[in-house]
């Protein structure tokens, strides 16, 4: 008969209940996170997976105590010292090392803040440096280290305070592929051997394979508003192999869930939030759009492909590929259906056309299917001067969305409009106009 310790088995480390985060002063502007629940238990690696703008980083920072949620609660259980500064520690995407401190001083930062005596601080820091494989670099400054070594410092700095929960915000995404893989493997080894003084890991990632490789549980986020759409348990034994069919099946499955169209939104507008001119657009270069259509039209795809395959081929992450696909869908050059993307008749025509014909086709679709572009063109047509200040449209957009979103939306329309020669924009005067520099 096995003795089960009920308390330990049921312990939760982090409990997030009904967290909501609203951006903007008015209160109704932009819902970054909507009603998110999360329970983190001991001995698990949980991944928060989603596209940029889905609020996963916001959630992580809320748990770290860096951001206060608009609504909802975050409870940390069973933490040494009883407060966040001791119970959780964070690893940053950009490493966030202090360039004027040596590796050892950087690692000692959190201990110093806790008031740990100098001798003990030194001992613990050296132990952490040793554990993470930074021996010999104690006196180096961050700028002398490679990206991978810097992130090791970031890890050592977080581990040395002996947190219950290690929070990682896209810890490998600023590294090159090889370095990232080495660091992942090293971290997993330490975790599986139980050599790290932590009880759980919560990590944010936009890389599906990374999530499947490392996590015991994956929460898939959708954007606009950011929310959890799926919770996936990964039962594959460690170490996991990327080529394992079960692994691939799981990756494909998650891909499909991430592209799944939310029921509430109209069929063809993809994941762009908002309607009409208030639709927030993602700035995708027309070169990228053209390149994607050409790739789809060419063999072996002949007009349709599976998104994961396409992503692999183009070496794009899911969150890079999806906005491209959705922009094509918005302009009716392609249709997304589950994991499949299919060129429309117009998309096929575009792929085969010459430069001028492409521009005409693009202009036609831009002015028909992107309401903001149509709106700008209408205003320019109506005015005798055929000019309009960009400020005006920016203000209109900012009624519906944050400044940054408005800026990106306007940037998108400017670059698409320029390519289509639908209208011109002058940076000096911040004006739209119809004149064409002939």
């Amino acid at each position: 008969m096995t003795v089960i310790e009920p308390v330990a088995a049921q312990t939760t480390l982090v409990e997030v209940r009904g967290v909501k985060h609203v951006y903007g002063k008015g209160g109704s502007n932009l819902l970054v996170l909507d009603n998110v629940d999360l329970t983190l238990r001991p001995n698990e690696i949980v991944g928060l997976l989603g596209r940029s703008g889905s609020g996963k980083s916001t959630l992580l920072r809320t748990i770290a105590g860096l951001i206060r949620p608009t609504e909802g609660t975050v409870v940390l259980h069973d933490m040494p010292g009883g407060d966040t500064a001791h119970g959780v520690a964070m690893v940053f995407q950009s490493f966030a090392l202090f360039p004027w401190l040596t590796v050892q001083q950087n690692v000692e930062l959190g201990l110093e803040a806790q008031g740990v005596p100098a001798d003990e601080r030194r001992k613990r820091a050296l132990a952490a440096i040793d554990l993470i494989g930074l021996d010999g670099f104690e006196n180096a400054y961050p700028k002398e280290l490679s990206g991978g070594m810097r992130q090791r410092v970031g890890l050592a700095r977080a581990l040395v305070v002996q947190p219950s929960v290690l929070l990682m915000d896209e810890p490998f995404s600023a590294l090159d592929v090889l370095t990232a893989e080495t660091l992942r493997t090293d971290l997993l080894d330490l975790w599986c051997e139980g050599r790290m003084p932590i009880r759980s890991i919560l990590m944010v990632t936009h890389n599906i394979e990374e999530a499947v490789l490392m996590c015991d549980r994956i929460l898939v986020f959708a954007s606009n508003p950011g929310r959890v759409i799926a919770e996936i348990k990964v039962d594959l034994p460690q170490p996991r192999k990327r080529l394992d069919p079960a692994f691939r099946a799981l990756v494909d499955d998650i891909y499909a869930r991430m592209t799944a169209r939310p029921a509430a939104q109209p069929a063809r507008d993809g994941n762009f939030p908002g309607m009409g001119i208030s639709m927030a657009l993602t700035h995708i270069s027309t070169n990228t759009l053209a390149g994607m259509m050409e790739a789809l039209a060419a063999s072996p795809h002949d007009g349709k492909a599976e998104l994961p395959t396409l992503a692999n081929e183009a070496q794009l992450e899911a969150d890079e590929l999806l906005p491209i696909a959705e922009t094509l869908q918005l302009m009716r050059f392609a249709e997304i259906d589950g994991r499949m993307i299919r060129l429309t008749a117009a998309g096929k025509r575009y792929a085969l056309a010459d430069v001028d014909e492409r521009k005409q086709l693009f202009a036609q679709h831009l002015l028909t299917y992107v309401p903001l572009a149509a709106h700008i063109r209408r205003v320019l047509d109506d005015r005798t001067s055929h000019q309009a200040p960009a400020r005006r449209f920016r203000d209109e957009l900012e009624d519906f969305m944050s400044e940054e979103y408005a800026e990106e939306t306007l940037d998108s329309v400017v670059s698409w409009g320029r390519y289509a020669e639908a209208f011109a924009y002058h940076e000096d005067t911040d004006q739209f106009s119809l004149e064409n520099p002939a």
């Binding site: 920072r61 770290a64 105590g65 860096l66 951001i67 206060r68 407060d83 966040t84 500064a85 001791h86 959780v88 520690a89 964070m90 940053f92 995407q93 950009s94 490493f95 966030a96 202090f98 360039p99 004027w100 401190l101 930062l109 959190g110 110093e112 803040a113 806790q114 008031g115 005596p117 100098a118 400054y141 961050p142 700028k143 002398e144 810097r150 700095r157 305070v161 940076e427 000096d428």
Partner: protein
């Protein structure tokens, strides 16, 4: 069992002594001598300052070259005392402005105005105040002089520190909050290091600017008595008064020596040291070098002496009180209400201040005086604009030429910085003599003095801009054979423009300040005067006519701020938007 060779187990006593890590080396000896010398000088100077005023009357300033070293030390001590005060002011005021919205509302506009407006005219007011604080002691006058120098240094330092605090990298801020750094540690670990490079640069600029004030602040007239503190400034004032060319030359030489010494022993090492605080993740190619810094780093004993201090600092217990990653929640309506109330209070105080200045000035002055001051201001404005234009035409091509030749740039940069530090007012006598001898019109020929000290900012900013011109741009220009005017229009001028604006802005601000000294120049009994706002203020100060001083300064403030807002800010914005090379 002993496997070590005999030599290693029993070295001679001398070698063993040398192997001890804290044994002094040659660098230690040099550093120790220099530090001991500095300590003796400081003690000597401090002793002098405590003496009663009567002692000064018994031993007045004399033009004896043997006393020059002592004068130089005293002047330097005053400047560094003012610098210390400026640093304290910077840390307190700028931190307050960055941390509190309410304080920011008052401090930032105040700093913006103070750093571009001459405070020289207020000298007479502050002297009276400080003499009252230490009656009969030399210390009172010393404090007044130090305060005057402080007013030349503090504002841009505080402003730079404030700007650094406002632009802390987001991820470091988050890391500091996440690891629970207390405000005290945060200051030492994050805020001060990040702000250091900009602060060091501004401190050097401040020292240069301060020389201008030294000459004006050491020989002070209070009511009917003139107190001349022992120092280079008093020496120079006396030499000019007596028309002693040799004494002026001595003073110039001494200043040169002093500037070289503190540049080499203090600022160069600090710049070399501060390089490690530059916020970048890659090692830079050309690091600033300093022989003295290298020497200090080679010492063995000094680090030993200073280590306990560093240790004590880093093992300080955290200040009591919980450090929160987030500020506590307050009711938004209450916060907004308090903010609104604060704005009202500040506006009311500002209105009251403006009203009292108006009342003070209007007792003895009429609208006519104000209009006259504005008219004179227009004359000075014309001078500033024309001079900046002339200086630009001269220095931009030269600066570009030098900047494109790295060897020359390295040689010229320190010289230009030295020239900028050099107080132009010591050269005034020469100009006066020349104008009198050649019967020149002072309205025209006094003007160049305004820009004598400030034109160098244009030069070394243009040099910096031309050196930073990307190689690929230069290569493209030469491949397509872009030459002559097209090369200037498309390559050089856009490339250096942002740097040029910075230089011209500094030069313009400095020129306004300099006009107070430059529009009136005296040599023995010859007094030359150019019509302008600077002369207006200088004359009013000499007459002790406080309302006119206040009026003059107010009008100059209006001009400086108007010029900054209408010309320099928009140019700056344009450069930022369109011509950034990255």
């Amino acid at each position: 069992m002993d496997l070590l060779p005999a030599e290693r187990t029993s070295p001679s006593l001398l070698i063993r002594y040398a192997r001890l890590r804290f044994a002094p080396n040659r660098a230690d000896v040099v550093a120790a001598l220099l530090l001991a010398g500095a300590a003796v000088l400081v003690a000597h100077g401090a002793e002098q300052m405590g003496e009663p005023l009567s002692a000064l009357r018994i031993a007045p300033v004399t033009l004896d070259p043997a006393r020059l070293p002592q004068y130089a030390i005293l002047t330097t001590l005053r400047m560094f005392a003012a610098l210390a005060a400026s640093l304290v002011f910077t840390f307190v005021v700028a931190t307050l402005a960055a941390k509190s919205k309410k304080a920011e509302l008052v401090i930032v506009p105040a700093l913006d105005i103070l750093q571009s407006v001459p405070v020289l005219g207020f000298l007479t007011f502050t002297v009276t105040f400080f003499m009252g604080l230490f009656p009969g002691k030399e210390l009172g006058v010393e404090c007044a002089a130090i305060f005057a120098i402080f007013t030349a240094q503090a504002w841009n330092m505080a402003f730079s520190f404030y700007q650094s605090l406002r632009t802390l990298p987001g991820d470091l801020d988050e890391a500091a909050r996440q690891f629970g750094l207390s405000p005290w540690r945060r200051f030492w670990r994050l805020e001060l290091p990040f702000a250091t490079p900009a602060l060091v640069w501004n401190t050097m600029m401040s020292m240069s600017g301060a020389w201008f004030f030294v000459v004006a602040s050491e020989a002070i007239t209070v009511g009917k008595t003139t107190v001349a503190l022992p120092g280079i400034g008093s020496w120079l004032a006396m030499a000019i008064d007596k028309g002693d060319v040799k004494a002026v030359a001595w003073a110039v030489l001494t200043m040169g020596v002093v500037i070289v010494i503190y540049d080499q022993l203090i600022f160069r090492p600090i710049v070399a040291w501060a390089d490690k605080f530059r916020f970048e993740q890659t090692a830079s190619q050309d690091q600033p070098k300093s022989w003295f810094y290298d020497l200090l780093r080679r010492t063995r004993l000094l680090p030993r002496l200073f280590r306990p201090i560093g240790k004590a600092l880093s093992s300080l217990p955290p200040l009591p009180g919980k450090t929160l990653a987030l500020p506590p929640i307050r009711d938004q309506r209450v916060v907004r209400g308090l903010d609104g109330l604060w704005v009202v209070v500040v506006l009311a105080l500002a209105a009251w201040g403006g009203w009292s200045v108006y009342r003070y000035v209007s007792v003895s002055l009429t609208l006519h005086d104000a209009l006259a001051a504005f008219g004179l201001g227009a004359l000075t404005l014309v001078r500033v604009v024309v001079l900046i234009a002339i200086a630009s035409v001269i220095w931009v091509p030269i600066g570009v030429w030098i900047g494109l030749r790295p060897v020359w740039a390295q040689r010229v940069q320190p010289v230009a910085q030295f020239l900028a530090a050099f107080p132009a007012n010591v050269l005034f006598p020469v100009v006066v003599v020349a104008i009198v001898a050649l019967h020149g019109d002072p309205n025209i020929w006094l003007s160049p003095l305004m820009i004598l000290g400030t034109q160098w900012y244009i030069l070394f900013n243009v040099i910096a801009g031309a050196s930073a011109l990307p190689n690929d741009l230069k290569e493209v220009a030469s491949i397509f054979k872009v030459r002559s005017w097209q090369w200037w229009r498309d390559v050089a001028l856009p490339g250096i423009f942002p740097y040029y604006v910075t230089g011209a802005l500094t030069a313009s601000g400095g020129s306004w300040n300099a006009s107070i000294v430059a529009e009136v120049a005296t040599w023995q009994h010859t007094k030359l005067e150019a019509a302008g706002l600077g002369a207006f203020i200088a004359n009013a100060t000499a007459d002790g006519n406080y309302p006119r001083v206040a009026l003059g300064i107010a009008v100059m403030s209006v001009y400086v701020i108007a010029l900054n807002r209408t010309l320099w800010r928009p140019l700056y914005g344009y450069a930022e938007r369109r011509l950034r090379l990255n």
